[in-house]
Amino acid sequence: MAEASPTTLPENVAPVIAVEGLRTELALRDRVLPAVIDVSFALKRGQTLGVVGESGCGKSMTALSIARLLPPIARIAAGRLLFDGRDLVGLPEPDMRRVRGRDISMIFQEPMTSLNPVKTIGYQIAEVLMLHVGLTRRQAWDAAIEKLRLVKIPEPARRAGEYPHQLSGGMRQRVMIAIALACNPKLLLADEPTTALDVTIQAQIMELMAELQESLGTAIMLITHDLGLVAENADRVIVMYAGRKVEEAEVNELFAAPCHPYTLGLLGSIPELGASLTRTGRGRLSEIKGSVPSLTQLPPGCAFAPRCGFASEQCHRAVPPLEEKRPGHIAACWHADRVLESLS
């Protein structure tokens, strides 16, 4: 295996998860497409790692690789997933099943499709506790009510007997969190956990996750397209584009000094609330021209080059390596110095 690309975790703290040189491929009828290309990162206890990028950038595929829940056409082609010192790649499915749900759990975007519609929510939480903690049916039911109380569902004893369709979207996502955190997992993979929710409900859910993280010390991988959510909730951020990690830094650093033109473009294209207050008339948003490349037609050099205002001939020819551009801040761009200069 090729040497993994660099990460910037301090040497002294053992990470909960260390992903090294992950490559995940999709096998189509006539060809193989890379969905995740040489992605490395590490995540410590109690830390939140934001993973941002647009559709098809490989952020969900990275999470599904870690949980070993990839769809049948996808497979991990290279890399290591070191969890608690054990490589999850190649772990037999029965062992993986014990890890999943107990040590690693997931929350997805749409709670309605992740919950079983014909089982009560109390049963669905109790099931996890019976399976992974070995509680009896009676104990598990009581514990389930306790978990519902923990995620602030009103009247938890009554709600436990209800079915998913009887709950609002926000309540269902609370139940998902209760299930995900039922066994005090070390790692929570949250894939667009609030995207389907209204903004006032989203704020409640993020607040709840932060509270629970504080008390349980869970490491969270927060996958989202929403840079605002990342700014408020992540400690570190990874930016992905066309299957690759293109930038990683601590959250303040990344927003203050983006080194990759894609990150710079993303930051510019989000409308900022309150922007109208400081200008006369309507302003234009800065755009990133063109569209996200399809995995079937990745350009030979830097995948962002065709849309990039900084691109030179070199960019179209060779993939830029991930290098430390500023202290603790890595990016994959041949022209990071010019990107940084453009900020001032």
Binding site: V199, L227, A231, S269, I288
Partner: protein, 327 residues
């Protein structure tokens, strides 16, 4: 039609619009009540103006848009397009008027017929309204393609060959083809990636400036709404709770719900508003909304009066309205 109208007449005027959906229950599906999806809203949109309508799920913003276009039959109230009352027009009577008002939907994946080519999709309204045929029609389609940033060579491609942002460009070209006065846009960019959202919003603003189009821009994302709107109406459970010029509404919101909505938006600036207090409670069901002010169950400043008496949408200052007993 638009040429004959005096400039003082707003493109669209909606007065006390109500849309109720019947609720049925039981074995014989007897009608047992109604959901007031839109509960008496009034607004006007001038020429070249964008009115943003913002709110969360169940607030009735989409129903308001559809009822205004008479895609849904209004229960009561009045809709005036370019000064003409269209509220009670039959389907046949409304057809020629449809030219003036177009709609763009959220999902460019399901709103475009996959069996038609992009060129046919853009040209179809021209045929329906007998506006152009043959070579003239092709020329018009070509011009429209260029205008929305598509290449004319893509005319023979099918919608599924386009990306989400390009499909929304096709939808915009299609709406634009009949030279409407008004376009109602229901979450037009919320299914798109962030970098593509900016492109589409910029395009819509450019086209508006060029053709003096009126937009009703319906969305849940208040930052996007702020970007494109001259004025904003905030809806909660079927009612407009506040309406003002964009700067006023964003800078000095009056209604507690507007405040909460603004506070809930995550700011793309680390360390700014983390761990802020979220608005509690759930959005009540529109089937059984709370009495009095619909917002009182979640309102941090509600008093006894709010629980029984519906606050009227009052004019607080020129061009500025709010529905709150306390503000």
């Amino acid at each position: 039609m638009s040429d004959a109208v005096s400039p003082d007449v707003p493109t669209l005027e909606v007065v006390d619009l109500v849309k109720t959906f019947p609720l049925s229950s039981g074995f014989l599906s007897r009608v047992t009540g109604g959901v007031h999806a839109v509960d008496g809203i009034s607004f006007a949109v001038g020429r070249g103006e964008t009115l943003g309508i913002v709110g969360e799920s169940g607030c009735g913003k989409s129903t308001a848009g559809r009822t205004t276009l008479k895609l849904l039959e209004p229960t009561s109230g009045q809709i005036r397009l370019l000064g003409r009352d269209i509220t009670r027009l039959s389907r046949a009577q409304i057809r020629p008027i449809r030219r003036e008002m177009q709609m763009i939907f959220q999902d460019p994946f399901s709103s475009l017929n996959p069996r038609m080519t992009a060129g046919q999709l853009v040209g179809e309204p021209l045929g329906i309204h007998h506006l152009a045929r043959g070579a003239e029609r092709i020329d018009r389609i070509e011009a429209l393609f260029k205008q929305v940033g598509l290449r004319p060579e893509q005319m023979d491609d099918q919608p599924q060959q386009f990306s989400g942002g390009q499909r929304q460009r096709i939808a915009i070209a299609r709406a634009l083809s009949v030279k409407p006065s008004l376009i109602i846009c229901d979450e037009p960019v919320s299914a798109l990636d962030v970098s593509i959202q900016a492109q589409v919003v910029n395009l819509m603003m450019d086209l508006q400036d060029q053709y003096q189009l009126s937009y009703v821009f319906i969305a849940h994302d208040i930052a996007i709404v702020e970007q494109i709107s001259h004025r904003i109406a905030v809806m909660y459970l079927g009612r407009i709770v506040e309406m003002a010029e964009t700067k006023t509404l964003i800078g000095e919101p009056l209604h507690p719900y507007t405040e909460a909505l603004l506070a809930a938006v995550p700011k793309p600036k680390p360390g700014m508003g983390r761990r802020r207090k979220a608005l509690g409670g759930d959005i009540p069901s529109p089937i059984n909304p709370p009495p009095g002010c619909h917002f009182h169950t979640r309102c941090p400043i509600a008093v006894a009066r709010c629980r029984v008496e519906r606050p009227a949408l009052r004019t607080v200052a020129s061009g500025r309205q709010a529905a709150c007993h306390l503000r």
